[in-house]
């Protein structure tokens, strides 16, 4: 039997010690009426060669668009993952370890998480990070709950172009607490409707204003300092969600005055993974550290004058506070956090900033090229953007056939927007990373032009 070492001889010996004749007898503790009387309706086990065939066949039903052939972003990006990262992330001890509750034998994982927390604080300009949340969306929900607990108010304000799934996750989490959130509209040119913000703040009970920079459509939030001021004056906190690489070109949320920072960290050395596992980043100031959900690793002293790492402030967590815990999170995304740590250590200071600039540069080159294509226009041409932007087809009905043609040529041509934002008919979100070259961008634009007009 796979992965079960016991032989019949072993079982006989153990049964004798236990004092029963058959293994079946051990299950006599289950009342007869509950015992399963038939076999599970699950196919028999496969030997290893057939296992590979089975899964290869299934995998062949997927079409993969690796690296330079994909322009899909929306929080999950195709960045290059160096070989050294894949190898180090797969060290047996690290991936088969449990949560480091016994610090004496977990100093490696604990230090890796401490380093992850340190990287997060650098990228977000914050002072305390957790050891990870499930993803950017649940990290946003955690941030909203934190803000509610800190301010003792209940509402969260979201600008229109936040990642639509972030709002959905917050809404689901709010079901337990019976709270609704409010959306802030934008003007024609994509800028936030400031009067709407002022009106919502005036209604009161606002725990937090959320800003996503760049937003789902890839452009920067304007007037951040004055937004910070207005929110803070009204007693609300500011939660800023970022894309990790934007910290290479933009000031950090901490430098800009945010109280809580959130991000989706998949871009940091994880494959696209069909959307999971992902990596939720959540960080705040030391002032709010006791409201921060999730595991936190601290550095401390040990016997013989040595230094080490432990999980700390555990009194916030479920295994101690039980029904009074701020969050129920137990297992998180530790290995993904470790992988992100190795990735950032490996690309280093120079790599990080240059990759950020390369993504930005590729996107701006593509935007120029696309501006020359008849039949489509950029959705918000006045807004400054980072590595992602939206275009709209002048004839929305053409989007589907154009996408099909491009898929047929082996491109994953970005994310359609109309189902998420009805005010963007024929909209397509395009993301660019360091995997693209000017040649691949030219080729894509050429094929797009042909599909659209040819």
């Amino acid at each position: 039997m796979p992965y079960i070492p016991n032989t019949d001889a072993d079982r006989r010996k153990m049964l004798e010690t236990v004092g029963v004749k058959t293994v079946e007898e051990l299950f006599s503790v289950i009342p007869d009426g509950l015992r399963l009387k038939q076999e599970l309706d699950i196919p028999p086990g496969l030997p290893e060669t057939e296992l590979w065939l089975y899964f290869k066949q299934m995998a062949a039903e997927n079409k993969v668009f690796c690296g330079s052939r994909t322009f899909a972003g929306g929080g999950v990006y195709s960045h290059f993952v160096p070989s050294v990262v894949k190898e180090l992330a797969h060290r047996n001890e690290m991936y088969t370890a449990y949560t480091p509750y016994q610090p004496e034998v977990s100093q490696g994982m604990l230090q890796a998480i401490f380093e992850y927390q340190s990287f997060v604080c650098l990228l977000t300009g914050m002072e305390a990070s957790n050891a990870s949340s499930y993803d950017g969306g649940t990290a946003m929900a955690d941030a909203a709950l934190m803000a509610r607990s800190i301010t003792k108010r209940s509402r969260t304000l979201f600008p229109r172009f936040i990642h639509p799934q972030y709002r959905e996750v917050v809404a689901t989490y709010s079901l337990g607490l019976g709270i609704e959130d409010a959306q802030l509209p934008v003007r024609e040119d994509g800028a936030l409707d400031r009067s709407a913000l002022t009106a919502e703040l005036a209604k009161g009970d606002v725990a937090a204003l959320v800003l996503q920079v760049p937003n789902y459509l890839g452009f920067y939030q304007e007037d951040i300092p004055s937004l910070m001021q207005e929110a803070h004056d009204a007693g609300a906190l500011v939660i800023m969600a970022i894309y990790p690489f934007v910290a290479g070109v933009m000031k950090t949320p901490g430098e800009l005055g945010a109280d809580i920072a959130v991000f989706e960290g998949q871009a940091l050395g994880l494959p696209a993974s069909y959307g999971g596992p992902l990596l939720g980043g959540l960080a705040t100031t030391m002032k709010h550290i006791r409201q921060l959900p999730g595991r936190i690793v601290g550095k401390t002293g040990a016997a013989f004058g040595r230094e080490g790492f432990v999980m700390t402030l555990q009194a916030r967590e479920q295994h101690i506070r039980r029904e009074k815990a701020a969050s129920n999170i137990c297992t998180n995304e530790a290995l993904a956090a470790y992988q992100a740590t190795v990735y950032l250590a490996s690309i280093g200071k120079d790599g990080f900033h240059r990759i950020a600039r390369k993504c930005e540069d590729n996107a701006h080159y593509a935007a120029e090229k696309l501006d020359e294509v008849k039949g489509l226009k950029r959705a918000f041409p006045q807004r400054a953007f980072f590595n992602e932007f939206a275009v709209m087809l002048e004839e929305p009905a053409k989007l589907e056939p154009v996408r099909r043609k491009l898929l047929g040529k082996g491109w994953l041509p970005g994310i359609p927007l109309e189902d998420k934002f009805p005010e963007l008919p024929g909209g397509l979100l395009l993301a660019f990373t360091e995997m693209h070259t000017r040649e691949t961008i030219d080729a894509f634009v050429g094929d797009l032009k042909e599909a659209l007009n040819g």
Binding site: R290, Q314, A315, I320, R321, K324
Partner: protein
């Protein structure tokens, strides 16, 4: 000289010249082990006898602290934020939690006197 009276749940209320102070007993502090954090109520907050009005954290546990009588909080001991260990070293003195005003003074008579509390078999609770 302060008069201490105790609740069954190991909180004390001390009276010294008309000023009432609330904290946890030395016994409670030693049972909790090294205290790492104390969460105190806001001045102005009102509690009924038996309401949770503070919490004490140690490394592996969180404990609730209950109001020994109906009271209103006048001042919280800000020094405990930086030095929670004071509760361990001087629970009945510098480790006080809050200065309070009892809003139902008759309840004080129902509490346990210092002599009786010392004699009490605390393991039973």
């Amino acid at each position: 000289m302060a008069t201490l009276r105790f609740a069954k749940t190991h909180e004390y209320i001390a009276e010294d010249g008309g000023v009432f102070t609330v904290g946890i007993s030395e016994f409670a502090a030693s049972e909790l082990g090294d205290i790492t954090f104390v969460e105190l109520p806001e001045p102005g907050a009102a509690f009924s006898q038996g309401d949770r009005f503070a919490t004490v954290e140690s490394v592996k546990a969180v404990s609730d602290v209950y109001a020994p009588v109906d009271l209103e909080v006048l001042e919280a001991n800000a020094a405990l934020t930086d030095s929670p260990e004071t509760v361990n070293s001087d629970a009945h003195g510098a480790g006080w939690f809050a200065k309070v005003k009892p809003t139902n003074p008759a309840q004080l008579d129902g509490l346990i006197s210092e002599t009786d509390y010392s004699a009490m078999d605390k393991e039973a609770h």
